[in-house]
Symmetry: C2
């Protein structure tokens, strides 16, 4: 740790020497203070502060075989949704004396694998991962390493992998039903790439499901996939309007894409919702501030983060006895969605 020689960083042994006790006593002072008599403890603590001693985490982990550390791999911090959820996750972990290690995968499977290995190597006692979709061997690896793993932002009752989240398909289907009830028949969708992203895929499927239910052909959905980003949403919107003229509503896989759609519509001189309706997903702050305000699916990101922490801590205690939890989402009906006939 820290650079080579220079001023040698004080160690447990230094403290012990200065306090005239054994290293075991110093260790106990730090980890289970009430096993040490007051006078000794005072002397040790004095030495600790005199030397400015900080325990070496690596050594401690090595000896104690546990790190009180939890790891999380998220696609990107730039997505407010994750930033918010993870912040809550971290706060709750902190409350339980755990530390969070964060890594980001930029939505790339290979990078995610690498980060998972890195976190495990660093001794993460447990892991939070986003969505189910990843190579099976990764799950096996984690199992072999006995690292309890929780999936978040997704929930599929059919899987046994512990998870906390909501059913992306169901949530989006609900919104789509509402859209259809408003009379929309020419529906388009701007989605995040669905390859290796079960959340994005679920949302698209949700729309198709609602269409089928309504007697429409699911294949009629005009679909454009594009990476995260407002500009991408804009471009996608233009593509849709060019390739699927007559579209009356554009349902977006997330709020950021929807913001792009809104902007593009505005730039193209289309009125929302009179000429075309737009919906989002996530309900980030932006959604309410948009002009017109965005109809979207509200996801309790903070709650999810907070409860994910609780679940993970529970898994650490008893890896078997965990129940996945399904959160509910609700629709925020705002001005960007109107009836089909304008």
């Amino acid at each position: 740790m820290t650079s080579p020689e220079r001023n040698p960083v004080p160690t447990l042994a230094d403290v012990a020497r200065l306090a005239r006790v054994s290293t075991a006593t110093v260790s106990r002072c730090l980890n289970s203070p009430d096993q040490v008599v007051d006078k000794t403890r005072a002397r040790v603590l004095q030495a600790v502060s005199e030397l400015g001693y900080t325990p070496n985490f690596g050594a401690r982990a090595l000896a104690a075989k546990q790190t009180d550390t939890v790891g999380a791999v998220i696609p990107t911090m730039e997505n407010a949704v994750f930033a918010r959820g993870i912040q809550a996750f971290q706060e709750e972990l902190g409350r339980h004396g755990k530390t969070l290690l964060i890594a980001s995968s930029a939505y790339q499977a290979a990078l995610e694998e690498e980060q998972v290995r890195a976190l495990v190597a660093r001794g993460a006692d447990a892991l939070l991962l986003i969505g189910y979709e990843r190579d099976q061997w990764l799950y096996e690896f984690l199992q072999r390493q006995s690292v309890p793993t929780l999936v978040a932002w997704s929930h599929d009752a059919g899987r046994e992998q512990p998870a906390i989240g909501f059913d992306n398909k169901t949530s989006m289907a609900e919104l789509a039903r509402l859209v259809i009830r408003q009379g929309h028949r020419k529906i388009a969708c701007i989605s995040a790439p669905t390859v290796s992203n079960d959340r994005a895929r679920g949302r698209v499927e949700g729309i198709r499901l609602a269409m089928s239910e309504a007697g429409m052909r699911a294949d009629d959905l005009a679909l454009v996939e594009t990476p995260y980003g407002i500009e991408n949403g804009e471009a996608a919107f233009r593509t849709i309007m060019a390739e699927a003229p007559g579209t009356t509503v554009v349902m977006c896989g997330n709020d950021v894409l929807a913001m792009g759609a809104l902007r593009a519509a505005h730039a193209m001189g289309l009125r929302v919702p009179d000429d075309v309706s737009v919906t989002g997903f996530d309900d980030i702050e932006l959604a309410m501030l948009a002009e017109p305000a965005l109809t979207t699916v509200h996801v309790p990101h903070r709650e999810m983060g907070r409860r994910a922490a609780g679940l993970l801590i529970q898994m650490l205690r008893d890896p078997e006895a965990v129940e996945s939890v399904q959160l509910t989402t609700d629709i925020k009906l705002r001005r960007s969605l109107g009836p089909a006939d304008g």
Copy 2:
């Protein structure tokens, strides 16, 4: 690491045994492969994958005395500004084979100290901190531990602490001059808490500086301090309008507060910029999307993050030879700022 017994996690020794070589050879295979003859290496690698071996980071750090890890303590991930900068920071670090450990302090000094200790204990070879302002002993502690530390999001030519950032005061002063040139004389400011936040304080001082230059009394600035958050910005705006009637421009310490101001103005039936102008700081995505679009100070967050990584790596090589770098900001003049007379 990982849970107690259960299925024992494979160690270097296990690999060595399976490959019929010494642990030293396995270690070399992993760290300096070309010191090992091909045939042996193949055998070892085979064993590694057969066992699903992952090196134990703690042990490695302990033995090798370096971690290739850099730590960062930011106020909160929920602030898009930091999320963006840190993302770039991380990407650049990754390019150099370094790993990033992130912690957040929720703008609380005590928490920051704690997190710094935690990161150092975890063996962070270097640290990124936001702004200069913190207890002197923390700097001393870091020096004693020989942990090179870089300050970001601030730059004060007068300090010798290595930093990368911009001069908050100068940048805001520039915007304030523009505001004043537009004829504004009744100026108000909504700022983040200035206690232990040199960035916020610098921005306020910038406004005062420009006022003095223009022959106005710096004390006439109507100032409200409030924590980060749109709602807080809204409340602050109402306070200002109540306590400093006649205010023609509200300059905000950051874009999020400005968004709140914009909303409050809208809710109060005030037209922006006809009845009152609003400005922000940071130029986050929201600024451009706001209605009306927000006049603000553009800060190159991504570039800052990227270059911060470069600097830190340089400091790791030669802790002495680092030059602080001052980034330049520029004003984005958008519709939310208009002349004083409406």
